[in-house]
């Protein structure tokens, strides 16, 4: 096991593990940024930095790295790479070298993002990079542009690869109606990436052209329009929410089915209604990010209705999850705890989004901590819990060893308490008027105690995540052998040895007529 073998690997499993290591590093960095911000906000006035720009750089890094460096790569990089070929019974992906290129680009992107800490004028433009600020700031907008372009490109070539792989490389007998829910969800996510990433690429390229090459796309004094950028940006970045949501709910389906030993409830409803519905609606709801941006009224009303309709596919996916729990046989393992945590916390996150679908209510709470709390419940909490559930779930497959259940469960409960302290309070003070992206809040002294509680909560959840990551490292080094199929799952990735060799199966797998990835019960 030498370094060169890993760097030049074309094995989808190793590429996946490289994605996991890179995205976890990004998670750690972005998490430290969050912690620094929480400490800064624990008192009114300067706490650990007297320079608001320093705070804004932390905030930029936190947002951009969490989304582009951690969640999307962990879900569509690690899980998709590691699990999809194994789940469909393929030896590898369709284009292994393209896959290797994708992970190289990902590392270049992460390194660019981390250069934020070394360039003289780091970007302070938030992960949204709205002009005119991004074109007039002294901060380094180009770094943002290139980070987004490179990570976006890595994701696009991954998408081409996986769509091809699933279309052409399924083992005999693995029909479309016998694909794991996770595979369907990830396919949906990659379709969205292929359609929408180019729009984001365009948007961020145009701000750098405006700033460095003297074009006027977003400069109203010369015929440009600042709102165009926001439309382009959210035309990608709302679907990006589903690029995260779909794979993570897919992971939760896998974990709940395997640890509940149960058939997924109403499989076709989940696939066609849930995944299909989200893919179909995802491109027509972006204006809900622009409810107070000065968009035309008819667009705000029209997309209010489409936004509310997102509750239909998402609701069907929740029914599928809860239905899978019904009459199952639940083992309360660590991955299952995280997955059940997702069910409850996503309920909070999803439902608190309903007021935000209405422009009339958003006009009161837009750009406040309510919005921040809401999307942290959806993405940061539900999404990250799902990632942790998945890593624990496939840990025995990836390493061939078992993690410690005790530390795993301890980490889960600590994190569970921490996230609820932070994000519940966050939503509460948001409704009361605390605006977001504030380095300091001298005009809202009534929220100081709440900020301090959130800082405490952030420290608690940080400890929980730290225990989990430490548990993986210790488990990978010293864990007991786990066996090939510790969860007793019929899903194909468990039918090979752990860890799987290059090529995955000594002989190509073939499945029986009555095989199903969730066929736990034979009768």
């Amino acid at each position: 096991m030498n370094l060169k073998e890993w760097i030049f690997t074309t094995d989808h499993k190793r590429v996946g593990v490289l994605y996991l290591i890179g995205s976890m590093a990004a998670f750690a960095v972005a998490g430290i940024m969050a912690m620094l911000m929480r400490i800064e906000l624990s008192t009114i006035g300067p706490t650990i930095t007297a320079n608001p720009t320093q705070y804004n750089v932390w905030l930029y890094t936190h947002g951009a790295v969490m989304i582009l460096g951690f969640q999307i790569p962990a879900l569509t990089g690690f899980f998709a790479n590691y699990c999809i070929p194994l789940m469909i019974g393929a030896k590898d992906v369709a284009f292994p070298r393209v896959n290797a290129l994708s992970v190289w680009l990902f590392y270049v992107g992460v390194i660019l993002a981390l250069l934020t800490f070394f360039v003289p004028d780091p970007p302070d433009i938030m992960w949204t990079g709205y002009p005119p600020y991004s074109t007039i700031t002294t901060g380094n907008t180009a770094l943002y542009t290139f980070t987004v372009l490179i990570l976006g490109f890595a994701s696009i070539i991954g998408g081409v690869n996986f769509l091809t792989t699933v279309a052409y490389m399924r083992a005999p007998g693995v029909t479309l109606n016998k694909l794991n829910i996770f595979v369907w969800c990830t396919l949906g996510a990659f379709v969205l990436q292929l359609v929408f990433v180019p729009v984001l690429g365009t948007a961020v390229t145009l701000i750098s052209m405006d700033k460095y090459l003297g074009t006027h796309f977003f400069d109203p004094a010369n015929g440009g329009d600042v709102l165009t950028y926001q439309n382009l940006f959210w035309f990608y970045s709302h679907p990006a929410v589903y690029v995260i949501f779909l794979p993570f709910i897919g992971v939760v389906y896998e974990v709940i089915a395997a640890h509940g030993k149960n058939m997924v409830f109403n499989y076709k409803m989940v696939v066609y209604g849930g995944v299909g519905g989200i893919v179909a609606l995802s491109g027509v709801v972006w204006v809900h990010h622009l409810y107070v941006s000065g968009m035309a009224d008819w667009l705000r009303i029209g997309q209010m209705i489409t936004t509310l309709m997102i509750s239909i596919p998402v609701g069907l996916m929740m029914i599928g999850l809860i239905g899978t729990l019904y009459r199952s046989s639940i083992a309360f393992t660590t991955p299952m705890l995280y997955a059940l945590g997702v069910v409850f916390l996503f309920l909070i996150g999803g439902l608190t989004g309903i007021p935000l679908a209405l422009p009339a209510l958003t006009i009161g709470v837009s750009d406040t901590y309510y919005v921040v709390g809401h999307f942290h419940y959806v993405m940061a909490v539900a999404g990250t819990f799902a990632i942790f559930a998945g890593v624990y779930h496939w840990f025995p497959k990836v390493t061939g060893k078992m993690y410690s259940e005790f530390w795993g469960k301890l980490g889960f409960w600590i994190t569970f308490v921490g996230v609820n302290i932070v994000f519940w309070i966050m939503m509460d003070i948001g409704v009361k008027g605390m605006p977001r992206r504030y380095y300091d809040y001298p005009h809202f002294p009534q929220f100081e105690a709440a900020h301090q509680w959130m800082t405490v909560g952030a420290a608690i959840l940080g400890v929980g995540f730290f225990i989990a990551v430490l548990n993986w490292i210790m488990g990978a080094k010293n864990g007991k052998p786990a066996g090939d199929n510790p969860w007793g799952s019929p899903s194909l990735e468990w039918s090979t040895v752990s860890p799987p060799p290059h090529g995955n199966w000594p002989t190509p797998p073939s499945v029986a007529e009555d095989w199903h990835p969730y066929g736990f019960r034979k009768d």
């Binding site: 600020y133 329009d225 409830f265 809860i322 729990l325 019904y326 309920l347 837009s366 750009d367 736990f520």
Partner: protein, 272 residues
């Protein structure tokens, strides 16, 4: 006419009294209600915001608690134990599978459309500016709120308004995005260069309200605050008179307003 009377008597004579009373109430009540709502016309979006917010929060709490209880019940009854070693999911019939899609879809869709209808009504209040409004121009910049009154009086970071007059802000920005957020009036809207946006609010009682910037605008974003100071109409008039005198005393010329692309300026002029 006689023919009609004949028909009427014939038609209703054999109805019992309570049926007729119920019918009359059924016809009159909606008229009364709409008449009543005309007199107490809710055109203050802030009050409507609180009401709708409350209703939506109650709704989502009920839905959330319901889902959570069902989930918790399923988890508890499905825990692995002797005799329950493997899941025993229900095998749905084709009709059952379709039913489990169609029925939830209709339930969710009806909740959505109900919510959308209420949201739309409130939205119309937010965009229907009363005719007796006062229009004040706002230019935002890094990092101040600059207000210009119809008579040319200017203030910075202090929007002084008379109680009882709806206030419309016509907003633009001289540098980057800002968002004029008045938490107490449940309203905000971005201001930006090149477009004119608007918001309105209805100050009813004298008092002070914070104005915060709600769109990231750079290093002093968190400090970009102002106040809405609502004065009693006579106090306001006295203050305005003083400002006008000051304005007349200075020989400062008002720079010509730059022509800007407007974002549907006519909407706001609509009658309520």
């Amino acid at each position: 006419m006689r023919k009609f009377a004949h028909w009427f008597v014939h038609r209703f004579a054999h109805r019992s009294v309570h049926q007729i009373v119920a019918g009359v109430i059924g016809m009159v009540l909606p008229v009364m209600v709409s008449a009543a709502s005309e007199t107490v016309k809710i055109n203050d979006p802030a009050a409507g915001w609180d009401k709708l917010w409350h209703n939506v929060i109650v709704d989502i709490t009920i839905i959330g608690v319901l889902f959570a209880l069902v989930t918790a019940w399923f988890i508890w009854t499905s825990r692995r134990r002797p005799g329950n070693e493997v899941g025993a999911s229900v095998k749905l019939s084709p009709a059952g599978a379709v039913g489990w899609v169609v029925i939830p879809v209709f339930v969710f869709l009806s909740i959505d459309l109900y919510t959308a209808a209420n949201g739309w009504v409130l939205w119309n209040h937010y965009r229907d500016v009363p005719v007796n409004r006062m229009e004040i121009k706002l230019e935002s910049g890094m990092y101040s709120w600059d207000y210009t009154y119809p008579n040319g009086v200017r203030t910075q970071n202090e929007l002084i308004v008379p109680a009882g007059t709806p206030i419309v802000l016509r907003m633009t920005s001289r540098d980057t995005l800002h968002s004029h957020y008045i938490p107490d009036f449940r309203v905000k809207e971005d201001s930006m260069p090149g477009r004119v946006t608007y918001l309105w609010f209805n100050p009813t009682k004298p008092g002070e309200h914070i104005v915060a910037c709600a769109e990231y605008c750079g290093v002093s974003h968190g400090y970009m605050a102002g106040r809405v100071i609502v004065k009693a109409p006579d106090e306001y008039a006295a203050w305005m008179k003083g400002e006008e005198t000051k304005l007349a005393a200075t020989t400062e010329t008002v720079p010509a307003a730059k022509s800007v692309k407007t974002n549907k300026p006519t909407t706001a002029a609509k009658k309520t």
